[in-house]
Symmetry: C2
Subunit: 306 residues, 2 copies
């Protein structure tokens, strides 16, 4: 027995426990922590969006933008909005329990910077040659098939429909994923109005609305905000809104201030073991492995780079 946690409260619901597990069966975080440096991928500063909320304590949220080939029209707009410092002085305006936190310009009157793209609804789906994302298919279990499966691509959860070529793929609304608010179709949003998922994966939104990234640090500063009491969780008074001090691409910050992050390579062997362990818990707390997992119950490990 290598159990080193002796406080029984701490043992209760030990799903993400970091202590050694019995019989040398590592838990998912132990697998990630033991992964060699070669299995981690650096996130470029150009792909990190840093949002600072006003308030007494430092409240920083860091978002990794989606890589090509996904959502690049909206991601390009977001880079322009950040470069224009457009979000500075805007606010978090909506917090709906088990759904989303949303931010942007509450007045809806702030002029947008020039040159933003109008993106087509077609771009919710990405066309890729058959087999391009075959490595994304894994042992997540029931619900996956040869032609329709969920998995991971360059660190992000995706769905793949490969029943014809080109295959179709799109990112998935897991907890922490960031998307683009929009009006009624055919509007697709500019990227100025953003939201993050803070509850059960709302997969009915997949391929109906653009996803552009995910929070890699600081989501608790959004998910623990008071829920709005208005329709859809909007705050009913200006005083409830949480001011946003500034939003920058990390690459725009002075080099010494740039946060550095990395994610566990979703095409590497450590991630494969981690995903299998999430789907089939064999560490000491568990008595029956589940035999599969929803893609959203396999959060991709990320960490500050050393």
């Amino acid at each position: 027995m290598m159990l080193t946690i002796i406080n029984s409260i701490v043992l209760a619901i030990a799903a993400q426990v970091t202590a050694p597990a019995k019989d040398e069966v590592p838990s998912p975080p132990e697998i990630a922590n033991a992964a060699p440096a070669a299995d981690w991928r650096a996130i470029a500063p150009e792909d990190l969006l840093v949002m600072d909320l006003a308030g007494g304590k430092a409240r920083r949220v860091v978002i990794q933008l989606l890589p090509a080939p996904f959502s690049q029209g909206w991601v390009g707009n977001i880079r322009k909005l950040a470069a224009a410092h457009w979000w500075d002085g805007t606010s978090v305006n909506r917090v709906q329990d088990n759904y989303v936190v949303q931010w942007g310009d509450a007045s809806e009157k702030k002029p947008l910077p020039a040159g933003l793209a109008t993106v087509s609804q077609d771009d919710y789906l990405t066309r890729v040659p058959y087999g391009s994302f075959a490595s994304a298919r894994n042992a997540l279990g029931p619900g996956n098939s040869v032609s329709s499966y969920s998995g991971f691509y360059r660190g992000f959860p995706v769905q793949v429909e490969a029943i014809r070529s080109p295959a179709l793929s799109w990112p998935v609304h897991c907890y922490g994923m960031v998307g683009v608010g929009r009006n009624m179709p055919p509007d697709t949003g500019t990227g100025a109005e953003l939201y993050v998922v803070i509850g059960q994966a709302p997969k009915h939104l997949d391929s109906n609305i653009a996803l552009v990234g995910r929070v890699v640090e600081g989501i608790e500063h959004l998910s623990s905000l008071p829920r709005g009491t208005g329709n859809l969780g909007f705050y009913e008074t200006a005083g409830e809104r949480v001011p946003i001090t500034r939003v920058r691409l990390a690459s725009e910050l002075p080099a010494a201030e740039q946060p550095r992050f990395e994610y566990l390579d979703t095409e590497g062997p450590s991630f494969a073991r981690y995903a299998d362990a999430r789907a089939n818990r064999r560490d000491a707390f568990f008595i029956r492995p589940a035999g599969g997992s929803d893609v959203c119950n396999v959060p991709v490990p990320t960490r500050r780079a050393k």
Copy 2:
């Protein structure tokens, strides 16, 4: 066009919008709201647990206990703990983002009332005659089959494995479900230490830990609490804990104070239409129905009874 919402922010991500949708295609909440009284089921006061948190504003959480045949050993213990006023003066001690909020006796020294049952691990699974829960099987989509499916039973999300008789069934860890903290197996917990799910359904816990109910009102008082900074999200200082003023079965309160709730009958026609609409959004905001839904993305409608 019957669209009456004109604020574009309000339209953004209108998944739970309550305004009329185009072409008279009702949204899921519209279907629930239009359901006849015969499709709603009253929740008995004996099955409601009322928890009041300390603080300036009234913070009340109401939990519906699981019906037979599920988890009745632990549910019986919880009735005894409430009758003994055992939780009065205990606290919320743990808030882990995208996982659980947990409460109980932080000292771990408070004596338990006499007569609590020690429940077997076998009781995580319920044996039922083949076909007992066939009505729970529905059109949720991929991942369901004739012999292994998720669905609903008397208002709760369940999994059914009917590959042999007796079939096996167990409740599922969806957002808002309440479970019993425990130590390492074969311990199964008493029911004194409880948690509620506040993130993506942690289905790896299903049939590994007892579920005993779900929150029907006030979950925001738990889900918006500051996240704990200790291991597993435990609060590191006593001052961070949220005191629990009292916990009572609603049936123990004076009649005038008893909260009255009802849920949309999960075996009735309105719920069938509601679940289909959750799995296949056809109202105005959506352009592609998903073709299926995880059982945890079909929250069972509940409301205050008139």
